[in-house]
Amino acid sequence: MPILDHLWVILVLPLAGAAINGLLGKRWPQSRVNLVAVGSVTLAFLAVAELVREFWQLPSEQIPFVGNYFTWMVAGPFRVDFTLQVDQLTVVMLLTVAFVGMLIHIYSTGYMAHEGGYYRFFSYLNLFMFFMLTLVMAANLVVMFVGWEGVGLCSYLLIGFWFLKKSAADAGKKAFITTRIGDFGFTVGVLLVFATFQSIDFGTIFQALAANSVSEATLTIICILLFAGAVGKSAQLPLYVWLPDAMEGPTPVSALIHAATMVTAGVYMVARMNPLFSRAPIAMLLVAVVGAVTAFYAATIGLVQTDIKKVLAYSTVSQLGYMFLACGVGSYSAGIFHLMTHAFFKGLLFLAAGSVIHAMGGEQNMMKMGGLAKKTPITFWTMLIATLAIAGIPGFAGFFSKDKILEVTHAGSSGNLVLWFLGVAGAGLTSFYMFRLVFLTFFGEPRYDEHHIHVHESPKNMTIPLVILAVGSIFGGWFAAPHLVGGPDYFDGFLKPVFSSYAPPSMSEAAEAGIAPSPASELLHALTGWPVIVAVVGLLVAWWFYIKNPEAPKRLATSLHGLYTLLLNKYYVDELYRAVIIRPLLWISTNVLWHGVDEGLIDGIVNGSARVARAAGGRLRELQSGNTRSYATWVLIGVVGFTVLLLALFVTGVH
């Protein structure tokens, strides 16, 4: 069991890559930087593959497999070991992260080829891989938190990669600060967990839970706090605002961090803490509501965006909403399933978009594109596949996962019609704006100056990952295919131990009911179910709008002017935040903390002490006559005084 016994290798590889590139890469040729960065990540992926192979042979009683490497800190009862664990959930996450990460590394070597700070970019990227893997392999909350914050850091660094561009720098700060708000909740949650369970080890916590010793109220609070963290990290309402801005970063970053991996950390965390959530129905409901609303809400914004990456960003937000919806209704496996497929097709979408932008020479506005299908065939086809996948057209990955989510939302134990409706509506919108994107980009007449922009297909090292991911986007969901024809759901079955072992009895059999094997009518129902219908409808509407009669959108926009501007300005949420939170904060910081506390109090103390010392020195320096003999006299006076004292003591002592 070489890897299982040395889980740390998986972490050390990218870390080493980051260190080497970051320290030495500055003067290296790109080829060598590539070798280190891609090499380390590829090795990590191979290690993960080996890990999976070994994991397969692992007897089930050894799962989750925990490796304890060193004691990090001990403070009284508070003891943190650096422990890593492997179970089914981890395996899925590991595979997804490592695989997509590797592909995106390869893609980046092409995309970033002409950028400055090449070594820096890859160093950050490797570092991100390290933290992400830490996050998913962590066996206790603190180590997980390390990964959690680490990915946040890398996201900040990479969003602000072009830190000379103000908007980029601001976006980085925005992302960092916004997620901080959530992380605060997460931190408090972790502390509360320790306070409640006297431990931060997953295993211990869950066993304690199984004993049913903790009141539901406490659990609810804990779960809401943790979920706050998830909301921040996974860009849910109301903390989603940073994600669209994060598109300032290089496109591979958007693909890797802000679509495939990091933003899903929240979902992963909720899934990881499922025993807690399962015992806190209110928190569950909250999760579900937030997820559903976000899914719909973000989709509506996505309708009118013109920036190709912005559209993808909002679709990401809404897809994450679906995942939370799934978790919220108690079908974590569905959430994780969608997470994986989403990683494939959303990553693919971003990479393809990046390829488009690359082709257009940096142009991101879809209104200035069009008719690229013939010029960039690979990009076009891969992107089309991804779009079909995300739209949930049967046969593609997205269909299975999203369909499952909606199904459990509808039929699952804590199913809820409102949520279901939101989900379906969101699906329709998704299909609409995704095809809108495709039509605007690849069909119709070129709306750009062909003499200046020479559109060209991207190089191999960019297109190959596209193809691979396209394959993933098609077949990534087929684990669940047999289920539709009444067979078992392999993915769900695989993850079951994680989600049922500690789950409260009520939940577990409910989950059974939710995915109970059903007759072939199931297949028909699924194929003709609402999700598919709305998806197709969305497709057709998009076609009617943007291919049939392209001036329709404008008319609609003018007729529905109010709604249109509202959407265009993303419901004025940014403005709202600025008005409600940022400005008062700034005011307080400036007037109270800065001018008041800092200048008035602290500087006052410092300068005052200095002034006192100065004055005293001014008095005392008169003694410093520079005349040796006067110094001698002072010494003499001291000696005499001392001697007098001494003699007095002696005399009294003697007599």
Binding site: R621, S625, G626, N627, T628, R629, A632, T633
Partner: protein
Amino acid sequence: MSIIPVSYYLVLSAVLFGLGVIAFVFKRNIITVFMSIELMLNAVNLAFVAFARAHNQLDGLVFVFFVIVVAAAEAAVGLALVIMIAQNRQSLSVERMNHLKF
């Protein structure tokens, strides 16, 4: 043969030391100031020897030995300094050497 109380020696030593102090404070010439330091050291040595004799121990004498050694070193460096000073500003008066002040 009668004995001399050790206190006699101590008094003598104290007197010499005091005179040394006075010399240190009064003398103008930096060299004589140095000499007054030596004078004080001698006074201390006398006290050492007297005590060594009184308690019939040798440590006092050893201390005297060390004092002499240190005095020698001090004289070497100090006089070198004096020479430097005298060369830099043509005066040996301590009062002229009051430049090291605010």
